[in-house]
Structure formats: structure tokens, C-alpha cells
């Protein structure tokens, strides 16, 4: 398949996923409320304004990680409920293009979630957005999201193909995604100035997150087809 053909396939898969999301509104009606409830539960569990403000970036990203499991499982349930993924394979669609399409759809969904969670943390945990930190915050969040989406898409593809093993997904993704959690949280802390950190301390983390994102998204695009094949 030519590269323009591949881009077309990725674009078609992406717009299909986004359209389904718009129709079913799973993100807005189920996932976002779930994530916000998680933020509230953290407040009950940790019980203290200072500690909440101090740990806010970590709490936001833990909520992100768990929510992403739910979102990506849903994204693949859409494919397997009526055998659409099989149909895509039979049609000989380029699987790496399908990967990129689903990856980008997940990135967009997670970015929306991230914005909501940051607003939630601003309101409920009292984090402060500092001018100098905004660039770091935005870039680190985007690269963390790209890396997380890549890992989730790869392993969700694997888990969805095997009957009754969806529960394997968190075990596979969460350890592998731990550099993302560490990096995103530390970068966010530097951006917010939590615990006396300076913005400049956050940039090395952007390096970690970017390498992770590149390795897993390009690796994933190559691995996706063989991984879901019979």
C-alpha cells in the first residue's frame, strides 16, 4: 500500500472512531464523570489541603492512567463486538495505518480528559498555573499522552483478540507505562512549582517522555498487525 493510501486508511479509522465517540458520548457521559469522581475520592482518602496540592500532579496522572484503560478497552470493544477488526484484516487494510488511526483517536480522547482533570485539580486541589511553566506543562502532557496511547493501543489490540482476557490489559500496560507516570508527574510538578521545584528541572523529563513516545508509537505501528494476527 502506498504511503498516501496508508494516510488515507489512518485518517478514515480516526474519523470513524471520533464519529462513534461523538454519537455514543462515552467519554463525556461516563469516563469524565468517573475521572472526576476519582479526584473526589482522592480528597477523601488523603484528607488535607496541603497534601492534595502537593500531590495533585500525581493524582491527576493516576486518574489518567486508570481512565485510559477503560477508554481503550471501549475503543477496541467497538471493533470486536461485530467482528469489524476481523473484517478490516480480511480486507487487507494496512494494520500499521489502522494502529495510527486508533492511536490518534485515543490521544485526542485522552487530551480532552487531561484538560478536564487539570481544571478539576485547579478547582479542587488548588494548583496554580504559573506563566513560565505553561510550555513545559503542555509539551510534557502531550508527549506523555502520546506514549501512553501507544502502549495502551498495542496491548489493547493484543488483549481484545483473546477471549476473556481483557483483564490482562492493566497488568500489561501499567508497569510499562510507569516511566510515563513518573515523567509526566515530575514535569507537571516542575511546571506548577510544587514542593519548591523550578521549571528548569522539568525539561529532562520531557526528554524521557518524548523518547518513550517515539519508541512505543513507531514500535507499536510495526507490531500491531503481527500482534493481532492469528
Amino acid at each position: 500500500m502506498s504511503s498516501s493510501g496508508r494516510i488515507q486508511v489512518a485518517r478514515v479509522v480516526l474519523s470513524k472512531d471520533l464519529r462513534i465517540e461523538r454519537r455514543s458520548k462515552v467519554l463525556t457521559s461516563q469516563i469524565i464523570p468517573f475521572a472526576v469522581v476519582t479526584l473526589v475520592l482522592f480528597a477523601f482518602a488523603l484528607d488535607g489541603d496541603a497534601i492534595l496540592q502537593r500531590t495533585a500532579p500525581g493524582l491527576v496522572w493516576i486518574a489518567m492512567l486508570f481512565s485510559s484503560m477503560i477508554i481503550v478497552q471501549r475503543n477496541f470493544a467497538v471493533e470486536t463486538s461485530d467482528g469489524a477488526l476481523d473484517a478490516l484484516r480480511v480486507a487487507g487494510a494496512d494494520m500499521s495505518a489502522v494502529f495510527w488511526g486508533k492511536w490518534l483517536a485515543l490521544v485526542m480522547q485522552l487530551l480532552v480528559l487531561e484538560v478536564v482533570l487539570l481544571i478539576g485539580a485547579f478547582v479542587m486541589y488548588g494548583i496554580e498555573f504559573r506563566g513560565p511553566g505553561v510550555v513545559l506543562l503542555v509539551t510534557s502532557s502531550i508527549s506523555a499522552t502520546c506514549g501512553l496511547s501507544a502502549v495502551s493501543t498495542i496491548y489493547a489490540g493484543l488483549a481484545s483478540g483473546v477471549r476473556g482476557r481483557e483483564s490482562l490489559l492493566p497488568l500489561l500496560v501499567l508497569p510499562v507505562a510507569s516511566p510515563v507516570l513518573i515523567g509526566a508527574t515530575r514535569a507537571a510538578e516542575a511546571a506548577f512549582g510544587t514542593g519548591g521545584t523550578v521549571v528548569s528541572e522539568g525539561w529532562p523529563w520531557l526528554g524521557v517522555l518524548s523518547v518513550f513516545a517515539v519508541v512505543f508509537s513507531f514500535g507499536g505501528s510495526l507490531a500491531f498487525g503481527p500482534l493481532i494476527d492469528d
Binding site: 493484543l158 497488568l171 510499562v176 510507569s178 524521557v208 514500535g219
Partner: protein
């Protein structure tokens, strides 16, 4: 296309997985382990600060190095399976056996690390770079073993596992990098001397070397036995296939 028939070698023809080679390695392993005991427990000096507790290091450190070696072997074997023309199932069996051994070594590392911390500092766990990384990688490879256990034909399982194995090894430097960077932020004294901050004099270094040699021999011995066992399991499944085919056709004949 035929099913990849496992090689009928001297090892798999017999009832057990031992061969002259493994017996030699086994004897060497035992003798090196005895030497390790002698050097580690008796001949090498106690540490100035930690006393005799430092001797746990002679098991803890070689164990973690061998775990990494095992995972590298898994990655190489996974690569051979995926990219080799024959997509050799033997490579896949080696990858699986090596990962199992690696996970065991990682568990030993964690347990000895916890003991060491308990004895020296009174705490079972420290969020230092080595223990944290070890714990994360331990869980990752447990996940790899879980993927190996998923249903499917042997070729399917092998391909899936090989891909996950390669991702798992790609992840090792990333985890190291992020955890190291993380701990460096806190500038705490690395307790447990797990970054080998324990000042090692010549004899201690030599004992460590003995430990590494002993563990490497142990790894090779375990790997040979375990991959052969996996080969024999596959062989028996293969002969099981013949009877399954006959049985399957018979059920057709009966109802035709």
C-alpha cells in the same frame, strides 16, 4: 508448510533432559557455589559500617545482573524467532525459559534486597533506584509470562510473546532512566549500598566475581534444562496431534 518439529537431539531422545554437558555444568555450578559460600561467608571481610550484613550482596548483586542477562537472552531469542526466516519455535522456547529464570532471579533480588534493608536499616523497602527498577521490571516480565500463557496455536503464542518480549526489553532502559532521574532529585543517601556505594576492597570484589560466575553457570544450567523440558512438552503435544487427528477423523467417520 509443516509444523515446526522440535529437534530430536540427544537431550530430548532420552527420558530426562540431562546430557553430559549439563552434568559438567551442574558440577561446575555446585563447586562455584561452594566457593562463593567460602568467599562470601568466611574469607571476605565484613564491611566497616554494615558488618556481616553486607554478605547478602554476594547473592543480591549477581542475582540482579543475571536477571538482566536472562532478559537480554529472551530479547535476542525473541528477535531470532520474529525476524529469522524459519520463525524457529526453538528460539521461542529459549525465550520463554530464559524469562522464567529471569523472573525467579528478580524475585531473589527483591527478597535479598528486602532482607538486607531490614537487617541494616530496619526497613524492608526503600524507594531507591535499584529496588524500584527491579520491582517494576519484575512485574513487567510477570506480564510477559502471562502473555505466554494465553490460548492459541504455538505459532500464535510464539509470535505474540516475541513481540511482547521485545517491547519489555525496550522498556528496561526507559525504566532505568526515569527511575534514576527520579531518585536523583531527592539526593538521599542511597541506603543498602545498592549502587555499590559500599566500598569494595580487593577480596570483596573477588567474592562478587565468584558470585557472578556461579550464578552465570546456574543460569546456563537452568536454561538448558528448562528449554529442553519445553521442547519435550512440545514434542509430546506434537505426537498428541497425530492421535488427535486420527480421533478427529474418526468422529467424522462414525457420523458419516
Amino acid at each position: 508448510m509443516t509444523i515446526d518439529t522440535p529437534p530430536i537431539t540427544a537431550a530430548t531422545q532420552r527420558r530426562g533432559t540431562s546430557t553430559p554437558a549439563t552434568r559438567v555444568i551442574g558440577i561446575l555450578t555446585i563447586s562455584m557455589t561452594i566457593w562463593l559460600g567460602v568467599f562470601g561467608l568466611v574469607l571476605s571481610p565484613a564491611d566497616r559500617d554494615q558488618g556481616d550484613a553486607v554478605r547478602i550482596m554476594y547473592v543480591h548483586v549477581p542475582s540482579v545482573w543475571l536477571a538482566y542477562l536472562a532478559f537480554i537472552v529472551t530479547a535476542l531469542a525473541s528477535g531470532v524467532h520474529l525476524f529469522g526466516r524459519r520463525h524457529s519455535l526453538q528460539a521461542d522456547r529459549v525465550a520463554g525459559a530464559s524469562a522464567e529464570i529471569g523472573v525467579v532471579f528478580m524475585a531473589v533480588t527483591l527478597v535479598t534486597g528486602m532482607l538486607w534493608g531490614r537487617i541494616t536499616w530496619g526497613v524492608y523497602w526503600q524507594w531507591d533506584a535499584r529496588l524500584t527498577t527491579t520491582a517494576l521490571l519484575f512485574i513487567s516480565y510477570v506480564g510477559y509470562l502471562a502473555v505466554r500463557g494465553l490460548e492459541g496455536t504455538r505459532e500464535q503464542r510464539a509470535r505474540r510473546s516475541a513481540i511482547v518480549g521485545l517491547f519489555a526489553v525496550l522498556e528496561v532502559p526507559l525504566v532505568h532512566w526515569s527511575v534514576k532521574l527520579w531518585r536523583s532529585l531527592h539526593q538521599e543517601a542511597t541506603v543498602l549500598g545498592t549502587d555499590l556505594d559500599v566500598s569494595l576492597d580487593g577480596l570483596m570484589l573477588f567474592s562478587l566475581f565468584v558470585g557472578v560466575v556461579a550464578f552465570t553457570l546456574l543460569f546456563v544450567w537452568l536454561l538448558l534444562h528448562r528449554s529442553r523440558m519445553l521442547t519435550m512438552l512440545d514434542l509430546s503435544a506434537e505426537s498428541g496431534l497425530e492421535s488427535a487427528l486420527a480421533q478427529r477423523r474418526a468422529e467424522g467417520g462414525a457420523s458419516a
